[in-house]
């Protein structure tokens, strides 16, 4: 499994891997919004966490459709599926998700505090948003794996993956943003939404790979 994780990381960072696509998209979205909204610093600070979360959500959907499609096109997927007796297929999917998250989404979580400055957020809010992104974005990768596995046989599956995954990612977005707000708005408690966010991630870490493994098992042709 360590070998698989390393291979996925190598593939993502080599030429054509596309690890940077997500973070560049994220930068582009978040950096253009202040220009569109105009010089209202208070409003920027108020909607900052939401903008960061929406940007992160959309950016982390970008590379998802390639999660299994690339393996299918070169035949690796067959061998991965056939190794199910040694490595449970759901676990293989889980490791692939983790590697995808490390390579494509983690840079974006790291970039979020810098972009928080552009959005005139206060330090506590920036910290809280980065923390919720760190805890919440893996959930998107896990749901995304299920979507990617369903759409693996379709030549232009990217849009379908986004459409399949977005509704399921909405709870993650809601609790991520509300926890980020609660950190700066005094009466609201931070912990309850944050813990629900963590629970969502843990829950989807089980459901997502299992569903994806089922879809992959029956997608072979």
């Amino acid at each position: 499994m360590g070998a698989l994780y390393l291979r996925e990381l190598r593939l993502a960072t080599r030429a054509g891997g596309g690890a940077l696509t997500g973070v560049l998209f994220f930068l582009a979205v978040v950096a253009t919004i202040p220009f569109a909204l105009g010089p209202d610093l208070n409003m920027l600070a108020r909607i900052g966490p939401a903008i960061l979360w929406i940007g992160a959500l959309l950016a982390s959907l970008l590379g998802l459709d390639r999660l299994f499609q690339a393996d299918r096109e070169d035949g690796s997927l067959d061998v991965l599926v056939l190794s199910a007796d040694r490595h449970m297929l759901a676990l293989t999917v889980f490791v692939k998700c983790l590697a995808h998250w490390t390579a494509s989404v983690l840079p974006l979580v790291i970039a979020a505090p810098v972009l928080g400055l552009i959005l005139n957020m206060e330090p506590l809010g920036i910290g809280a948003t980065a923390l919720t992104l760190l805890v919440g974005t893996p959930a998107i990768a896990f749901i995304g794996a299920a979507g990617a596995a369903v759409a693996v046989g379709l030549p232009r599956g990217g849009v379908l993956v986004s459409v399949l995954v977005l509704p399921l990612a909405i709870p993650v977005l809601i609790f991520g943003v509300s926890a980020s707000y609660a950190a700066v708005n005094e009466p609201d408690p931070f912990m309850p939404p944050f813990l629900i966010l963590a629970a969502l991630t843990l829950f989807l870490a089980v459901i997502g790979p299992v569903a994806a493994a089922l879809a992959l098992r029956y997608s072979a042709d």
Binding site: R7, L11, D74, G75, D78, L82, D85, H87, A220
Partner: protein, 249 residues
């Protein structure tokens, strides 16, 4: 250890491709699956390894013990696609499969030497020629140990010398108690291999399905439909029936 298939049939997209294939393969035996395009050679291999559900019948591995409970766990499946990443070097690709598939046999360097690619292990797989890619893929069979090799057109793209080299590799695998099922158009040069001929009527399948007439399977051969290039050992008897093309619609 025995690979046994009983009354196996396969279909693609609802169309029956072959039916009634039975075979029994013991240690040290090889089976060459031949037949025209579309006769179901690849489908047979994919059904046997479990990538496609069988439309009927069953495949099982007997005597595999705890190490090899299923056909898939005991098999190296080499398909049309090489299952290698173009962006990674040949060595990285093989090292990954060696670690992931487990049961490591020879080292990556030795495997590459064996297939004559010792000098180019550091190159990205994408830079290799078609034949070199196939040879690197054959090296994948060597880096982790599996008793059963399921090979789909293994020599596609290989030159004459590499083919001979591959024949020697297969002979060594058989001598070590391995089993091979290979689908191919070309003679593989394996001594004592039995032959399973798929779909004698496969060539005129389109016209029959258009005409809507069902042709009786087993045309052109009585008794055991498969011809054996060497007398098969008793009790292990491949019998392949040509596909029974069903009526149109």
């Amino acid at each position: 250890m025995r690979l046994i298939a009983e009354d196996l049939s396969g279909e693609r997209g609802g169309q029956p491709v072959f039916s009634g294939v039975g075979l029994s393969l013991g240690e040290g035996e090889a089976l060459i699956v031949t037949g025209p395009n579309g006769s179901g050679k690849s489908t047979l291999l994919r059904v046997m390894v479990g990538l496609l559900p069988a439309a009927g019948g069953s495949v099982r591995l007997e005597g595999g013990g705890e190490a090899f409970p299923t056909v898939a766990s005991a098999a190296h499946y080499l398909g049309h696609l090489n299952a290698m990443k173009p962006a990674l070097t040949v060595t990285e690709n093989l090292a990954f499969w060696r670690d992931f598939r487990g049961d490591a046999a020879v080292s990556v360097g030795n495997a590459l030497e064996t297939v004559g690619l010792g000098a180019i292990g550091h190159l990205p797989f994408g830079y290799l020629s078609t034949g070199q890619r196939r040879r690197a893929t054959i090296a994948r069979l060597l880096v982790s140990r599996r008793p059963l090799w399921l090979l789909d057109e293994p020599t596609a793209g290989l030159d004459a010398q590499s083919e001979r080299q591959f024949s020697a590799l297969m002979a060594a695998h058989l001598a070590g108690g391995g089993m091979i099922v290979a689908a191919t158009h070309l003679p593989l040069g394996v001594e004592g291999a039995r032959e399973l001929r798929m779909g004698e009527v496969g060539a005129d399948l389109p016209s029959t399905s258009r005409g809507g007439s069902t042709r009786e399977a087993g045309r052109g051969g009585g008794g055991p439909e498969s011809s054996a290039s060497s007398p098969p050992p008793p009790g292990s008897h491949p019998r392949g029936s040509p596909p029974s093309p069903q009526g149109g619609g």
